[in-house]
């Protein structure tokens, strides 16, 4: 029988062999592959989300601007078990036809994320009450509550930004996997920049569910649950008073106003016009307003204060004067001749009528072009420079240190850099070092290739107010300000040169181009600008700060296609300053104020 006993051995080996196959396959399923654990969790565990209130946003005086109200969504959880689902009863509850329910289920399924799909967004109060009452019969559905934004002061839309449902792309970029479909996220402005601070941390309670989707006991007795943390309040540097006032002043005009507290870099107001009210982008209104505003030819969504760039025009002479003084190519007493302009061969830069042979202070007061054409030559063609490139780069370095021609790095993301070309640009046009000051002379009076955003102009004004340095303009205020905003940016221009230039800016207001808008009792220093615009009427520009000593506010205004700086931008700037310094008292210039409130500037050429 040895033959057959061998067979018993073969049988035993076969048994062990098959058992090893089972054990190996189990090892693969249970230990090596982790997809089954994930699938099991998605089938049997449901996280019930507790949404914290989003942080409030206040102005610099703790006045609330943005707060919350509740909004409710009906969501459906997948996988969806149709066997347990009473369609007729559900149709009665949500008051949809069967087709509509099927369609919404299909949509929710195709757009589901983490097993959850949106069935009805933003239930009305009556829908919420009715559906909540009957929902216990449909364990695969649940109501999730979120909050929507409300505005106590319906202002500063571009600064505040808005909150809306997270997009698929944002979900994919969310590497920490914090967000779920249907949840809200700050989309622009401060709501986006300070999203993590404002949103808080949502809480999760994990429940077991059965194969019908019914919730059972807490998963692992709540061991993995997380507590919700309320969003932090964001204090901004905005001053509701002048922000609101600025929006009224700019009504009917195209352009922007930026006001900065020079000693801190805090932005007091940022107005852009035409604009929109922030509550138009509250979640419940967003759908009906967004596409309308986005396709509006007036471009109300564009933040002109940071995203539009203009030639600074004569306001740039302030920077030019400072550079010339620092380079010691002029002294406060240096005079250049001006015979109704600057003449060099066939080249003429025209000038307004004023007494000839101005010094630097008088050149600012009267906005003399010829003075700066001459000063530019002196700055660029000093003996110490071997090439025009060296001279040009030296000049350009001052502008870069003043924060011109590159993004400043504020805490809203819509900044455009503007343009201060580098030497290579002119090498390309004119040939390597085959150019001189005459070729680029229009930049000396803030024209030509030079382009700055209103924010950069306001920042330049703040730099002058500070006598030589600035802080990156920003909106966050209070404690825990990022270091970027407390770091002093030095321009390398000595404080003594500012005395001369500021005296010139003061003279603008007392005897010069801005005399018409001076305010008794406030020592404003300003500079007008009228930027030539190849597409239409000139842009009206004004920069200013006040008071002269210990300045509290620095400001820049651009009114597009409005003509002279003194006519529109200067009144608006000075009214803003008056409001900020005198607070609630009535303007001393009611007629001017009223004119600004009510005038609309429409210029057809700008749309061409």
């Amino acid at each position: 029988m040895t033959h057959n006993q061998n067979r018993s051995t073969i049988i035993r080996i076969a048994i062990v062999f098959f058992a090893l196959i089972l054990i190996s396959k189990l090892f693969y399923l249970q230990v090596i592959s982790d997809k089954y654990a994930e699938k099991a969790a998605s089938l049997s565990i449901r996280a019930v989300i507790e949404f914290p209130d989003r942080g409030l946003i206040t102005d610099r005086n703790n006045e609330i601007i943005v707060f919350n109200e509740d909004a409710h969504d009906l969501v459906v959880h997948f996988p969806f078990n149709k066997k347990e689902f009473d369609l007729d009863e559900f149709c009665r509850l949500v008051r949809f036809s069967k087709n509509e329910v099927e369609e919404r289920l299909a949509n929710a399924r195709s757009s589901r994320y983490n097993g959850k799909g949106l069935f009805i967004k933003n239930l009305s109060a009556t829908e919420f009450a009715r559906i909540q009452e009957g929902l216990f019969q449909f364990p695969q559905f649940s109501i999730e509550s979120r909050s929507d934004r409300k505005y106590k002061h319906n202002i500063a839309a571009h600064t505040l930004g808005y909150v809306a449902e997270i997009s698929r792309r944002e979900l994919e970029r969310d590497k920490k996997e914090y967000y779920d479909i249907g949840e809200n996220i700050g989309k622009s402005g401060l709501e986006r920049h300070y999203e993590e601070l404002l949103r808080g941390v949502k809480g999760k309670k994990y429940y077991l569910k059965d194969n019908t989707g019914k919730l059972k006991e807490r998963y692992e007795n709540g061991k993995n649950d997380t507590k919700a943390a309320v969003g932090k309040q964001l204090m901004t540097s905005l001053d509701v008073l002048i922000q609101e006032y600025g929006e009224k002043l700019m009504a009917g005009k195209t352009g922007s106003v930026v006001a900065i507290e020079p000693s801190t870099g805090e932005i007091l107001a940022m107005v852009t016009s035409p604009g929109y009210k922030p509550d138009m982008f509250a979640i419940k209104n967003l759908g009906k307003n967004y596409s309308k505003l986005a396709s509006d030819p007036e471009k109300p969504l564009l933040n002109r204060a940071t995203s539009s760039v203009y030639p600074p025009g004569s306001t740039f002479k302030v920077a030019m004067a400072l550079i010339a003084l620092q380079e010691e190519v002029i002294t406060p007493n240096t005079r250049f001749s001006c015979s109704n302009g600057f003449h060099l061969g066939g080249l003429t830069v025209r000038c307004h009528s004023h007494a000839s042979m101005p010094n630097v202070q008088y050149s600012i007061q009267t906005s003399c072009n010829a003075f700066y054409c001459n000063a530019y030559r002196e700055i660029l063609h000093q003996d110490k420079f071997k090439t025009i490139e060296e001279g040009y780069n030296n000049w350009r370095g001052y502008l870069v240190r003043m924060g011109l021609g590159s993004t400043l790095g504020t805490d809203i993301s819509s900044e455009k850099p503007g343009n201060v070309p580098n030497a290579a640009y002119f090498h390309r046009i004119h040939g390597e070092n085959k150019w001189n000051y005459a070729r680029i002379i229009s930049m000396s009076i803030g024209q030509g290739e030079l382009l700055l955003s209103p924010m950069q102009m306001a920042n330049m004004s703040a730099m002058v107010a500070n006598r030589g340095y600035y802080y990156t303009p920003h909106f966050i205020r209070g404690e825990n300000i990022p270091n970027d905003f407390t770091e002093k940016h030095e321009t390398g221009i000595d404080a003594k040169h500012f005395t001369t230039v500021i005296d010139g800016m003061r003279a603008v207001m007392t005897n010069g181009t801005g005399a018409y808008v001076q305010i008794p009792g406030i020592e404003i220093c300003g500079k007008t600008g009228t930027a030539q615009n190849p597409h239409g009427e000139n842009h009206s520009i004004f920069i200013a700060f006040a008071p002269k000593d210990n300045p509290k506010i620095a400001i820049a205004t651009v009114v597009e296609n409005a003509g002279y700086g003194a006519t529109w931008a200067a009144p608006i700037c000075t009214l803003m300053i008056e409001k900020y310094i005198n607070r609630d008292s009535v303007s001393q210039r009611p007629a001017l104020e009223n004119k600004m409130f009510t005038s609309a500037i429409t210029d057809k050429t700008k749309h061409e």
């Binding site: 189990l26 089954y36 099991a40 049997s44």
Partner: protein, 422 residues
């Protein structure tokens, strides 16, 4: 267990111990899958409560076997066989339909599945016949009678519409192998399975083309050896004929749900919502158990009733989820120890009847064990057969217990046997 002496030998304690380990492990799994709470309380309306009754009945039945004369089963083995075949036949007409198969008798709330007990009858009849002094396994007549003993219940069970339970009886081939059936038969069987799988995978036409080309290539190499050539072509034609048979059987004899089942198992059809649903849920439950398992009564899939038929055919998922790979391996190892022990008991029998019977027990238990666990992890098609000593249900537990305990009874009596049957 206390030592009971029958004649000069006694009940094999090791087998008994392994049996109780498996039954207790099985009860724990049923308790978990039928929503047992951490505070045990006895409730006979629950599945685990009923299972306690079935365990008690099984032990009583098993013990009762020791009261019956050991010669009884051998003498009446054909009668047993006849009795269960009759029931298998009658159930086709008088049974109640469950899940598309008419394989249960229902008397009041009591239900009985004769297919479970028929294994017992076949085991006895086969043991008797194969051990008969006159049986010569090499003669065609005896081979046909042996085949008839195995094929009769299969035919009857297939007629009930429960092909899965019928497959179990093929496991008796293992017994025949031990008793001298040519190993070529097993190789032939395996080759048959491979050709069938290839037919499903590539279709009959492609298979024919492949075989003809293969035979053609071989012909080109050995065209001088005409006698070998003849055999090559006979073999090829046989394969083609067989493949056609499989093709025909698949398309015309099997019902649609059986066809689908085969295709899903072979990975030719993906169907996580329908037929593959059970297996998918089963794999998720087992796979999510990890190395150590989620802990007893902590299985999320078990608690949430995600695996259909979990307490019966898919009871292993509860082990896999809550006790992890370690627990699953322990269960498999205990089963393997039991099989080794049974094979040892078989080889120490002096009576051929007892030895053949022991191999019958081994074959039936091993087949159930292998196919049941394999189907929960998608290594075998889902055929509704229980995991011995684990799955909920009286019919299967009582019949497996009786099957095993009769072996213990025979083994305990082995010293009294003469070697006359050798």
């Amino acid at each position: 267990m206390s030592e009971k002496i029958y004649g000069q030998s006694r009940v094999d304690g090791i087998t008994l111990l392994l049996y109780f380990v498996l039954v207790i492990f099985g009860f724990l799994a049923i308790y978990s899958s039928s929503h047992g709470t951490e505070q045990f309380h006895l409730d006979f309306s629950t599945q685990y409560g009923k299972q306690i009754i079935w365990i008690a009945v099984s032990v009583v039945v098993g013990a009762a076997l020791f009261l019956i004369d050991v010669r009884f089963f051998e003498v009446f083995s054909y009668a047993f066989f006849g009795f269960w075949m009759l029931l298998l036949f009658l159930v086709i007409f008088f049974g109640v339909e469950v899940n598309g198969a008419r394989s249960w008798f229902a008397i009041g709330s009591f239900r009985l599945q004769p297919a479970e007990f028929a294994k017992f009858g076949v085991a006895l009849a086969l043991s008797r016949y194969v051990s008969d002094i006159d049986t010569d396994m090499k003669s065609l007549r005896y081979q046909l009678i042996t085949a008839a003993i195995i094929m009769t219940p299969i035919a009857l069970i297939v007629l009930q519409g429960d092909a899965g339970s019928g497959l179990v009886f093929f496991s008796f081939i293992l017994v025949l192998y031990r008793e001298g059936l040519s190993g070529n038969v097993l190789i032939l069987g395996i080759a048959a399975v491979i050709i069938a799988v290839l037919t499903f995978n590539f279709g009959f036409v492609v298979l024919v083309a492949a075989l003809v080309i293969l035979a053609g290539i071989i012909t080109a190499f050995i065209y001088t050896n005409t006698s070998m050539l003849k055999w090559v072509w006979i073999l090829a034609l046989t394969c083609i004929g067989y493949s056609k048979g499989v093709d025909f059987a698949f398309n015309h004899l099997l019902q649609e749900h059986q066809q689908k089942r085969i295709l899903v198992m072979l990975g030719l059809l993906d169907d996580p919502q329908g037929l593959g649903y059970n297996v998918n849920q089963s794999k998720i439950a087992i796979g999510s158990g990890g190395f150590w398992g989620k802990g007893y009564l902590q299985g999320t899939q078990t608690k949430g009733d995600f695996v259909p038929e979990q307490h019966t055919d898919f009871i292993f998922t509860s082990i896999g989820e809550e006790f992890g790979w370690v627990g699953s391996t322990v269960v498999i190892v205990v089963f393997v120890l039991l099989f080794m022990r049974i094979s040892m008991l078989a080889e120490r029998q002096r009576s051929k009847f007892s030895r053949v019977y022991a191999y019958c027990v081994l074959s039936v238990l091993f087949f159930h064990f292998l196919i049941n666990i394999a189907m929960t992890i998608n290594l075998a098609p889902v055929i509704g057969i229980p995991l011995p000593f684990f799955s909920y249900g009286g019919s299967s537990l009582i019949s497996f217990t009786a099957l095993l305990f009769l072996l213990l009874r025979l083994d305990a009596n082995r010293e009294n046997e003469l070697d006359s049957y050798y």
